[in-house]
Symmetry: C2
DNA sequence: TTTTTTGCAAAAGGTTTGCAACACG
DNA sequence: CGTGTTGCAAACCTTTTGCAAAAAA
C-alpha cells in the first residue's frame, strides 16, 4: 500500500485523522490479519482509545480499505484489501500462511449465473484449515 | 442425514442424550446454518439450557458432525457436515443461498504442495458475499 | 458405579452506544 | 462554523466457567 495514508483516506472520502493514519500504517507494516486489541497494544504509547479503534476499523471496512478475515478465533481480524490473497490456518496453534492462487472469481461467476436470488457478488472469503508441521509432530 | 440420531451419536462415540438428539434433529430439519440462540428458541418448550446448547455444539463440532459457517454475523453459525456445500450471503439483508460447485480441494492440494509450514489441510471455508435482487432494488 | 452431561449463576471477552468535548475541512 | 470523530463510562451480547445434581453406560 502507498505510504501516503492521508491521500489514501482522502481518496476514500474519509477525514484525515491521526487515529486513522496510525491504524492504516499498522496494517501497512504488519502484513498479516490483525484485530482491534493488537492495534491497541501496538499503538498504546500514542494513546488511542480502543473504542476509536473499533470505530475506525468499521469505517475503513465500509470504505473498502479493509476486509474481514475469518480466522475462527474469538475476535474479528482485518487486512488491507490492497492485494488479493487467502490464508491457511493451523487449527492447533493458530499460525497462518498466505497464498495467492485463487479461482474463486470463476466460481462466483458460475454461481451468479445460476442463482435465482442474487444480483451481484462482490467479495468472498476462502480460508483453509489444517495442521502445521510442528503441531502434527506433537 | 439419517434420522436415527442416537445411532449417529453412537457412531461418533458420544453419549446419547435428549439434548444432543434434539439438536441434531433441529439441524436435520432446518437445512440452513443456525446458531445457539436459534436452537434455544426452537427447542424452548423442551427446556434445554442455552449453556447446554453451546456445549453440545462444541462437542458435535469436535466429533465432526457439525462445522462452523462464517456468515459475518454477530454469532457462530453451524451446519451438518453431511453434504459439502457453500453459501452466498446478502450483505444487505443476510439472506443465504447455497451452492455445491467447489474446486477448493484442488486449490488445497496446490497450496499444500508449495507450503513450507503445513503438513495437512483438512477443512476450508468458502463463502461469497453479494447483494440479492430485492436489496439491489431498494 | 464411574464418568459424562446438564442446569444455574456468575464471569469473561469482544464489541457497541450515549453523550459531551474536540478536530477536521 | 458545521459536521464528523474521539474519549470515557457504561451497556450489551455472545460465549465460557465452576460447581453440584442428574443421567448415561
Amino acid at each position: 500500500m502507498n505510504k501516503d495514508f492521508a491521500l489514501t483516506l482522502k481518496k476514500a472520502k474519509l477525514k484525515v485523522t491521526p487515529a486513522r493514519q496510525a491504524i492504516l500504517e499498522t496494517f501497512s507494516s504488519d502484513c498479516k490479519p490483525i484485530n482491534a486489541e493488537y492495534i491497541h497494544q501496538k499503538l498504546k504509547d500514542k494513546g488511542f482509545n480502543l473504542v476509536t479503534i473499533y470505530r475506525t476499523l468499521t469505517s475503513l471496512e465500509t470504505s473498502g480499505l479493509l476486509k474481514r478475515v475469518d480466522l475462527r478465533k474469538g475476535s474479528t481480524y482485518y487486512e488491507l484489501t490492497d492485494h488479493h490473497h487467502h490464508h491457511v490456518i493451523c487449527t492447533g496453534c493458530g499460525k497462518t500462511e498466505s497464498f495467492e492462487m485463487c479461482d474463486v472469481d470463476k466460481i462466483s461467476k458460475g454461481v451468479l449465473r445460476k442463482s435465482p436470488l442474487f444480483e451481484t457478488i462482490g467479495q468472498h472469503s476462502l480460508e483453509l484449515f489444517g495442521t502445521c508441521k510442528s503441531c502434527s509432530k506433537g
